[in-house]
Amino acid sequence: MPTLTVDGKQVEFKQGQTVIEAARDAGIEIPHFCWHPSLSVSGNCRICLVEIERMPKLAISCSTYASDGMVVHTQSDKTVQARNAVMEFILINHPLDCPICDEAGECKLQDYAYKLGEGESRFEEMKVRKEKRVQLGPHIKFDGDRCIMCSRCIRFSDEIAKHNQLTFVQRGDKVTITTFPGESFDNPYTLNTTDICPVGALTNQDFRFKSRVWEMSSTDSICVGCSRGCNTEIWVRNNEVLRLTPRFNETVNSYWMCDSGRLNSFKDVKAENRISGTYLRKDGKLQKESWEAALKHAAKSLKNFKSSEMAFIGSPYATCEDNYALVKFAKSLGVSNIIYIDHLIPGDRDDILIREDKTPNSLGAELVGMKSAKNGSELASLYKGIKEGKIKALYVMEEDVASFSNEFENVLPKLELLIVNASNENKTTLLADVVFPSSSFAEKHGTLVNFQGRVQRIRPAVATEEMDRALDGMQMSRWDKFGTEFDRWMNGVKYDANPNWKIFVSLSAYLDGKIKYEMAEDVFKDLARSVDGFKGLDYDIIGKQGVLLKIKQSVTV
């Protein structure tokens, strides 16, 4: 392999790599604004200038190809001086409004100004003022003053989102960014530009001014908006999810995620219709009851039915652990034909990230032993069974079957017993005899299998009533570490909910007591022992980037 020398360190590189890429692979970060690993090279910010021996002038490392025997200095006097000059130049028209800027704390310009800047400005003239608070698209607000013209957003929408909607206008220090005439910046990936914007010029309308970034904790998770399973970080303050951001995973989502997943998938976590505590139907009305009473009642009622009179419905929204526990629970009652319902929106897909399958775990549901109700015959026989009174009891986990079809809604009242595990109130829970509150994706450990067959972990970011951030090893912000029960900034809502597998464990204790797990990892270990594709896996191996299962691609959507 060819090598070059960066700051005295021998660095191997692949032919065709630029200096900045070669250095980055070797762990040497050369400052950059406009360069992004997934975007084309623009070379306009000039902050990545480095000194290369036997070159007459300094060269920008993002567009200089590495060659064998090259000697690069990133910390020489000449480089540092040039970098300072570039910083001073960029800061000339950049407003000093970090206090009101949402990007503060995760701003490249702020970081570099601290690290590389002189700390003084010789500029005494008036800064050029541009338009502020421009609504570029439905989710994006643009602040012209702050923009440093790196063109990352322009290249992103052109190259990654495949919607050429943004452009530079004007010349010199009047340059600004706008959409093409008559266009709105409204492609499905616009919010990624707020992540890659090195300053606070592009801001997320949904998150704007909600919190300073240093006040939140961030937890590695997975987006549950579709079967892509984009890697995300959940940002939480005061036990409330405030935003999602994408997390790098080369094979799944690279650096990106879609706007719909980012904005909508966490809105059910803290919602008006969240179910907290267990509910029992008494005198025709759902009434709040203690867990013990509800579990006892549910177990006693289930005992009244023969196994041929019961049916179970799992969910591609739930984790592998939850579905596996449901399968085990159903089998302990003698029911083995368990179905789940697909949620496809035909045609709602693209070649970038978005998938037709709008659930995060249909492959996982299938792998743990449930059948997709896709071809309709399972559902038809279920409807028929309920209508004819052959099926008298139905257990539904995280699935709004009543909203799924009119037929379903019409047959549900015929049941003698309907038990529902759900996180949010819906048509089905309103018809149920027993409702168990299940934790949302942001409140539990678990695994999801995406459409590629990659198993990935979700982790709790929001605490439920029985959880404790410190004791459960959750990510903690500064507030979480030092807060007491008397501080208002610590009194965020906690719901009385449990992961589905835990509900089945508690329920099983009132029946035959055969399902015994202490934590989600125990469920997964058991699952890994008994399900083929998962052999040899555990939570540590899955880690942050997930593991591709050794299975045939049985589900192709």
Partner: protein, 164 residues
């Protein structure tokens, strides 16, 4: 137990005590004619100088708008985590304002870091030292108690200009 040794061996005069008593009496007598420094609180009140660090307050401009832009730096720098700020968007030029600004006076240690870090001179230490509350909730001061017209804070603002 050993006998404790005196730190100093007293001379004959000292052993008499009388001269020492006379000295003490003289001092007392002198003090009687000195000016009074004790204030008869609450009838008389202490008027602190501009360098005094009383409870932190928010500066309210003459048009009734707070100077604060809810940047959260005071909240970040506060070593006692006494300050909670929630920002929101406003149509005014400053773009953001504190929708909620709460100082927990049970946590506050009057260090003045919030005042020092504030980029807008929006939070300053006042001369108010009379803090009374009978439960934890009353000790959390919201915007209603924190906002003070700029006129009443001229003293402190001038002090800051000079010495900060």
């Amino acid at each position: 137990m050993s006998v404790q040794k005196r730190e100093k061996n007293l001379s004959f005069l000292e052993k008499l005590y009388i001269p020492e008593i006379a000295k003490g009496m003289a001092l007392t007598l002198k003090s009687m004619f000195r000016p009074n420094v004790t204030l008869q609180y609450p009838e008389e009140r202490f008027e602190p100088s501009s360098s005094y660090r009383g409870r932190p307050v928010l500066v309210e401009e003459n048009n009734g708008v707070e100077r604060c832009v809810a940047c959260g730096l005071c909240s970040r720098v506060c070593p006692a985590l006494a300050i909670e700020v929630q920002a929101a968007e406003t149509e005014l030029e400053k773009e953001r304002y504190p929708e909620k600004f709460e100082i927990n006076m049970l946590r506050c240690i009057f260090c003045g870091f919030c005042e020092e870090v504030c980029p807008e001179e929006a939070i300053v230490m006042s001369k108010d030292y009379e803090l009374v509350f009978s439960n934890r909730d009353d000790a959390i001061y919201g915007k209603d108690k924190l906002l003070v017209p700029v006129e009443n804070l001229r003293d402190r603002l001038e002090f800051l200009r000079k010495f900060k």
